[in-house]
Symmetry: none
Subunit: 199 residues, 4 copies
Amino acid sequence: MTSSGTRKYEQQRQSAIRSAAAVFAEKGFHGSCTKDIAEHMGIKQGSLYYYFKSKEEALDEVCLYGIQDYVQHMEKIADGDQTFEAKLIATVTSHLSSYREKNEALKVYNDERLYLPSERRRRLKKLGSDYRQRLEGIFENGKESGAIKQSVDCHFAAQAVIGMCNAWGDLIVRDPDLDLFEVIQNCTDLLFNGFTNKS
Amino acid sequence: MTSSGTRKYEQQRQSAIRSAAAVFAEKGFHGSCTKDIAEHMGIKQGSLYYYFKSKEEALDEVCLYGIQDYVQHMEKIADGDQTFEAKLIATVTSHLSSYREKNEALKVYNDERLYLPSERRRRLKKLGSDYRQRLEGIFENGKESGAIKQSVDCHFAAQAVIGMCNAWGDLIVRDPDLDLFEVIQNCTDLLFNGFTNKS
Amino acid sequence: MTSSGTRKYEQQRQSAIRSAAAVFAEKGFHGSCTKDIAEHMGIKQGSLYYYFKSKEEALDEVCLYGIQDYVQHMEKIADGDQTFEAKLIATVTSHLSSYREKNEALKVYNDERLYLPSERRRRLKKLGSDYRQRLEGIFENGKESGAIKQSVDCHFAAQAVIGMCNAWGDLIVRDPDLDLFEVIQNCTDLLFNGFTNKS
Amino acid sequence: MTSSGTRKYEQQRQSAIRSAAAVFAEKGFHGSCTKDIAEHMGIKQGSLYYYFKSKEEALDEVCLYGIQDYVQHMEKIADGDQTFEAKLIATVTSHLSSYREKNEALKVYNDERLYLPSERRRRLKKLGSDYRQRLEGIFENGKESGAIKQSVDCHFAAQAVIGMCNAWGDLIVRDPDLDLFEVIQNCTDLLFNGFTNKS
DNA sequence: AATGAATGAGAGTTCATTCAT
DNA sequence: TATGAATGAACTCTCATTCAT
């Protein structure tokens, strides 16, 4: 009874979040209107407010949804026993696949979260810096194990990996013909070896 | 009317473009309003329309202004006689400096140009792909000269450089304490050599 | 369906009327929403419509409930055998006590009945003028018996008593520390003797 | 130049305040809509916001407008050299005339000010209690001069006068045929002498 | 060259009301 | 008897745009 009522509500709410993600990803937060979101979901505009208190709350939920799995995935990678190389490949793969799979929400997190009021941003900020710190940890371990050069600045390295993945993520979202695995391979090769000819 | 040819008119128009750039960079195109732009410039809202036919035209002009020098700079770099290494360093330096010199317009070009109608986007698209193609050319020459590995995909490489520079550009704009030269050095080292320890 | 005759149904309906009275008294008719009323009553918004056909009907019922006892009370007072003085004191006491006993409905009748459509207002209007006419009758009897001055305009007098009681009723509702009996005494003294020093 | 621009703005703003007063007085704050106010004024809805930041600000201004003159008038009365009787008559006359003359705004102040948020209410509250205190002062002086009975509670008396005037004010606004001077005479007679026959 | 005033379209949001369950 | 879900109309407010001056 109530459980099925609640279940339907939760399903619809998830659907609303995904619709909001799709619309925000395409038009940006301020360029989107609640009518578009509702239509994308197949309900009427006013009904959206049964699931969100405000457009802003919708953005908040989309951002959270966009970054959550992605952060959890990183935790698993960072806590594993693999080599530095394996972990970096796993990171890039996870990050880029995330864009291809379902995640307009991740794009929204990257591009639109700054339009949230500061209180709402806090929760997200924590998740974001967790992610970066884990990645920094991977680089530090890589340094200790001798896998990477002593001269590498781990903070810079983590930011660079994230930045490059997001840049490619954008291209991946925009161009569905891009071959995901090729991109992953090119990216990891660049990160490991750079472009210079060593022979 | 000869008004639109006047010296003062042109100065004011430039000022309007810079104001629009500043406001768009901070709040995004749809999040900005013409009143903010006018206030930033020190005139009243209605007076803006003396310089722009519409808000959209303002965005168009900002984007153009944002990418123009930047492309011209690239032409000079690409046409020069330097080594691949020197050209890549020059590219990264030019790109990142552009952000530090408060060229908010470049950020606007990157983040907001997609809100222009397709006809308006055409001119900009051409400039953008000119830039990318020149950079690809640099990589191709690098390949021929043996400076970089045969396995490098030049199209990928150019996108990667642009993506990384834009990602760091954002961080540079947001955090004025970041040391520009350190970032440049780290970026070029990554691009040349990757992170892996080769010793 | 025999539902609307049920004992429980009638109890719940009374409860709904009291909840509506409380909410309307606090926020006014247009400032209240059906959700607030339902919550005050402990049911869900949609369920209210089991007891009222519309928000307007709720207001109608509240007004009726608010004025009914009050008018009946007046009938008893007017039909009694007491002196003019006793009747006036009884009237003021009944009127003001009604406010203190949290008869928010009376306040609603006074302040919000004008938002009812004219057909609905008719029934209430009759009750209201019954009340006033009885009070006028008391004054007329007072005049005949020589208790009050010949110069008194009985219509004016009745309105004045009602007006003053409502004005003090508002203060009584707003300030729970006001001493009810002191107010009653002051009011009746004013009505009997005015402020002027006769010594 | 600028002065005439400003003058027009101020005239229009006054007109907007009067229109808001008329509409609020008829339908209550929550029952009114900005479209009605704008139409009453002869402009379009959106244009109202050139004169008010919000509907709430409009209410604030109306209340202020409604009570201001009225308070100033009271200051003059209280500071005068007249007898108690003359001052009380002047007070009632001023208060009731205010309703007949122009002052839907006074009704709005009385009935709707409670819908203002507390910060906005502060300024008004001060004016309102100034009024009451002046009136209390008149009663106190009346006591000292022997014009009124020692038993009179001056705080009560002031409230009673205000309450009765507001109650009659409502009737006056609603029924344009009521003879203002008759009402004033009846009211002052009640206040001075009460209804009781002293012969 | 600039402005004050106005506009109208469209946005987000609220809410009385309905209805299947 | 009561509820969850949905709706559509109405409302407040914002803003790009226009135009007489």
